[in-house]
Symmetry: C2
């Protein structure tokens, strides 16, 4: 068996070098590039450099929230588990998957809506400002409704639902809220790992 | 805002129909197709139909293990959180992310190896037979070493490490163990969500 690199940080460093070499020319800023490269690192899929949409000044908005120690909403346990816990803790932030909360299942049952939708309502009620979506289009649609109704106040959104039914449309809809800082993955692709990697890239700008 | 499908099972059903339509002609068996479609459902990436390797009789071997109620090793918390807990419980199986175990961190420190490698050693010692890798090439290399040394006894492997350093090679190496049932994702792609989706597809053959 060939010898292999065994140190995680060495592997990450070399991976980012390879990604940089293969990406070639692009118009990303240095900060944007840290996000784009981390998404490609997570997916081994260079198409993400064309699918990612980083709205102007959104990185700054996200960093301002992280600096003040926010609670981050995630739509799935998988996105939650992909977010680096040490970086979260260093920033005095925390992340919660609202869909797993007990009262959320109850609300969903009572009102015959998806748990994903009930979870967003609960998060909005609790005053969450930092939203991360890696899976559920219905949750992202719901956040738009609540925001337009003045019942939610998102100050930064990662919009990366994945899939064949509603995912693309959910991201198109949320982008119509022109005044909200956001990073989205356009089209069908995305996912919990991608969403988490965007959050991690943002946190590492402050912690590494 | 347009009306949208709100029931998770309806969304999944329609998604699988779309995937079937867009995949076109292929040589997969009905069982294989359930796995391939679920991976594409998880990634929105049709390239997986060309990257997946399902060794002959491996589905049967995996189902036999699931039927007897095994403990499934996962290399990451993310893969663990992607595995359907209700299906696991229905099958009297459980899944554990060994890298998070307390004694694993200690072993890794003492011997200056990655926690991923120490986790595989621990799993092998505990007699684990069903291994799922979505992230760590070093863990997959380690499993091969332990198996050749007669210290591990894998009876089914999901080999889906992702990345730019070692991932592809780790899967090539594990495939050289010709007698072990396995499903791998060749090349750089894979990941925790993909690994979990393969396990879910297998479990659903027995529970749905």
């Amino acid at each position: 068996m060939k010898d292999y690199i065994k140190q995680p940080m060495d592997i990450e460093k070399r991976s980012f070098e390879i990604i940089g070499e293969e990406m070639g020319e692009n118009n990303f800023s240095q900060e944007e590039l840290q996000i784009v490269k981390r998404v490609i690192h997570t997916t081994a899929d260079f198409e993400y450099k064309d699918l990612i949409y980083i709205r102007e000044n959104s990185i700054k908005s996200a960093l301002d929230l992280l600096k003040k120690g926010v609670t981050i909403y995630t739509d799935t346990n998988m996105a939650l588990s992909g977010i680096n816990k040490r970086a979260l803790s260093n920033l005095n932030c925390k992340a919660e998957c609202f869909v797993s909360k007990e009262n959320v299942a109850q609300i969903a049952n009572e009102r015959n809506i998806t748990r994903s939708m009930a979870a967003v309502e609960q998060a909005a009620e609790e005053g969450i400002e930092f939203f991360v979506f890696g899976n559920a289009p219905t949750a992202l649609f719901k956040l738009k409704e609540l925001t337009l109704a003045g019942k939610a106040n998102p100050k930064f959104i990662v919009g990366a639902p994945i899939g064949f039914v509603g995912a693309k449309e959910s991201k198109e809809e949320i982008e119509k809220l022109k005044y909200i800082p956001m990073i989205t993955i356009r089209g069908r692709k995305g996912g919990s790992a991608v969403a988490a990697s965007i959050v991690n890239a943002l946190m590492y700008m402050l912690t590494r």
